[in-house]
């Protein structure tokens, strides 16, 4: 579990707020490069990383995980050194009051999201949440000093780091979807010296949280023969209906959906059953809420499967995953590419 933890520890702290992923391009390239023959950035900033198997005309499998995380962007600088922002991606507003953020201006500065002082709260107001666009962020600077550090469009992100919980569970920000970026890197590590018959292209796509455009355009260029989209999915927590979620600790989930290719999905399920890999099935008939939605209809179409990591507290600065589940997911993906995909009969 140390390997997957280390990868998660190196990838998740990088600032990758949707649209601003390029700011961490150098650091991320350095992390990706040792695992691939080639790393490129496309027009929308998605990382296209290729590992060739060496055979001519080999088929290509695309593994997609989005590199972007939800965040915010400055829209106004106010007297007293306060900021107003807009959200980039859907933030769970309930966690905002009195939370801490990083403001990535000329240099990184901390900020505190304001919470309504009690003496000013009107009756009935305590039930309502302030929309992100109306929130204030306190920087502790004067407006003049702040204006030199920050401008309209400066990205803002959550300020939390990795914290262990009991067992193999950990909490941190951006596990959606950098935990899956990490899983793909771990899978590539597992495949390092294996003989493969398929080329692998890992796409660490941008802007999933704001319209899935990174994956849309990357898969157009690649036109892969098959794709597996790795994203996070709901884990059972109180008040979450069990039929909508997977169990943390029971390994990765695979989606049964109109969006995904049933034969590819079945091939992965069979592989897991034969090899004793943990795998849970989840039903998402109409939309997977992932990049698969756009990948499968790109160009002339791509058969896609969605494999997900169970996650609690989605879209908060403290999402929770199990490192065991992450390792199991990497093992499944690596195993399927090395030994299962050849048996897949396309329907």
């Amino acid at each position: 579990m140390d390997e997957i933890r280390e990868i998660i520890n190196s990838v998740t702290p990088c600032m990758t707020v949707s649209g601003y992923e390029y700011r961490s391009a150098e650091v991320l390239r350095d992390i990706f490069a040792p695992r691939f023959d080639e790393v490129k950035c496309d027009a929308l900033g998605s990382f296209i990383c290729t590992k060739r198997c060496g055979a001519e005309n080999a088929p290509n499998i695309m593994l997609d995980a989005h590199i972007d995380e939800i965040g915010m962007m400055v829209r106004e600088i106010l007297d007293g050194g306060f900021l107003r922002v807009v959200q980039l991606g859907g933030i769970d507003t309930r966690i905002m009051a009195a939370s801490e953020v990083w403001i990535y201006g000329e240099r990184k500065i901390p900020g505190v999201v304001v919470s309504t002082p009690p003496h000013l709260a009107k009756p009935g107001e305590s039930a309502k949440l302030t929309p992100v666009a109306d929130l204030l962020i306190d920087t502790g600077y004067s407006k003049d000093a702040l204006s030199k550090l920050v401008r309209i469009g400066t990205p803002v992100g959550f300020k939390t780091s990795l914290m262990p919980l009991l067992g193999s569970q950990v909490t941190g920000r951006g596990f959606d979807d950098k935990a899956c970026v990490s899983i793909i890197l771990r899978a590539l590590d597992m495949l390092r010296d294996k003989n493969l018959t398929w080329d692998i292209t890992a796409v660490f796509s941008t802007r999933e949280e704001v319209g899935e455009t990174g994956a849309l355009t990357a898969s157009y260029t690649l036109a892969p023969d098959a794709a597996i989209v790795l994203d996070v999915n709901f884990a059972i927590q109180p008040d979450v209906p069990k039929r909508r979620a997977g169990k943390m600790g029971d390994g990765p989930m695979i989606s049964l959906s109109a969006v995904t290719d049933r034969s590819l999905t079945d091939a992965i399920i069979s592989f897991a059953a034969e090899n004793g890999n943990k795998l849970q099935q989840t039903v998402e008939p109409m939309s997977t809420g992932t990049n698969a939605n756009v990948v499968n209809t790109t160009g002339a179409g791509v058969p896609v499967a969605v494999v997900s990591l169970p996650l609690k507290n989605m879209h908060t600065p403290s999402e929770v995953i199990s490192l065991d589940d992450a390792e199991e997911t990497a093992t499944l993906i690596a195993g399927f590419i090395a030994g299962g995909i050849d048996k897949w009969i396309r329907s």
């Binding site: 106010l78 309502k128 909508r244 507290n313």
Partner: protein
Amino acid sequence: MDNKLNGIELLAALTLIPGPSGCEDMVAAYIKEYLSGIISGVRTDKLGNVIAHMEGEDSSRRLMVCAHMDEVGFMVTEIDDEGNLRFSPVGGIDPRVLCGRRVTIMSKDGSRRINGLISSKPIHLQNADERGKATKVDGMYIDIGADDGDMARHSVSIGDYGTFISDFYLMGENKMKGKAIDDRLGCAVMLDTITAFVREGKKPKYDTYFAFTVREEVGISGANTAAFEIKPDYALILESTAVADIADVPPEGRVAELGAGGVISLVDRATVYDHGFVTWALELAEKRSIAVQVKKFVSGGNDAGAIHRSRAGVKTLALSAPTRYLHTASTVADTRDYTAIAALVRAVCE
């Protein structure tokens, strides 16, 4: 004395110690350890208040200076079969600042500590009338990463305490962020005051009792008994006061401004302060050019509520640090106010 922390560094260290109301043990231990070697005659009363006595030049009167050691926090009320904890806040916490917060859950003596996360139903799965509404504490639980109830019960017990996890740092221009600035700031100022007198070989004017009190956040019980025993003529209460000097808030709602000095209250919801004491303190501050401001709102309450009623009555004065986001994990205050408060406390004691 030379290798002891002081000022903002001391404040930082104090804020990091977990000490929710009823579980002030670790803060008290730090303070006692700090004072050992500086003065003798530090005792702990039956409730856990730590009281340090300094003899004055003039023993005809007694001054009590106090600050509370406790902070707002949580208590575990239930451990369910899935391994999640239900909890109650300890002290007044706005439920809107709880969701998503990281907490430490610990046994009373601090020997058992684990990490937790205050969580609730994911936003994507909320139904239409749940969205846009704040979750109540009933709808929250603490996730410690347990697989099930048995695993949880190995690490946590009902009645365990919790505090916010929050580091301390300087930010912006002269600002600082941390938890429990209310009222570790008062505690730090008192420790600095005692240390300064001793280092300079001086005595305060009157017999002065520095009381580090317990349980202020849950109904002011510690200060009650401390005042009863000390029998002060005057009491100076060091506190934090919630201000709203943020963008948008009009002048009449701001209460006080960060950086403009300690806040002296005339009236709050628990006390009418002694106008003679207040006026004297304001004049003293002016004479010594110490920044001070008067609280522009009737709100809040503190240990003075109990102290001024003690026995036959005590003349009280409250001096508070203006703080933003009080009773949250991310309180923001101004380092200049620390300095101003420490200077005025020293002046009052002289």
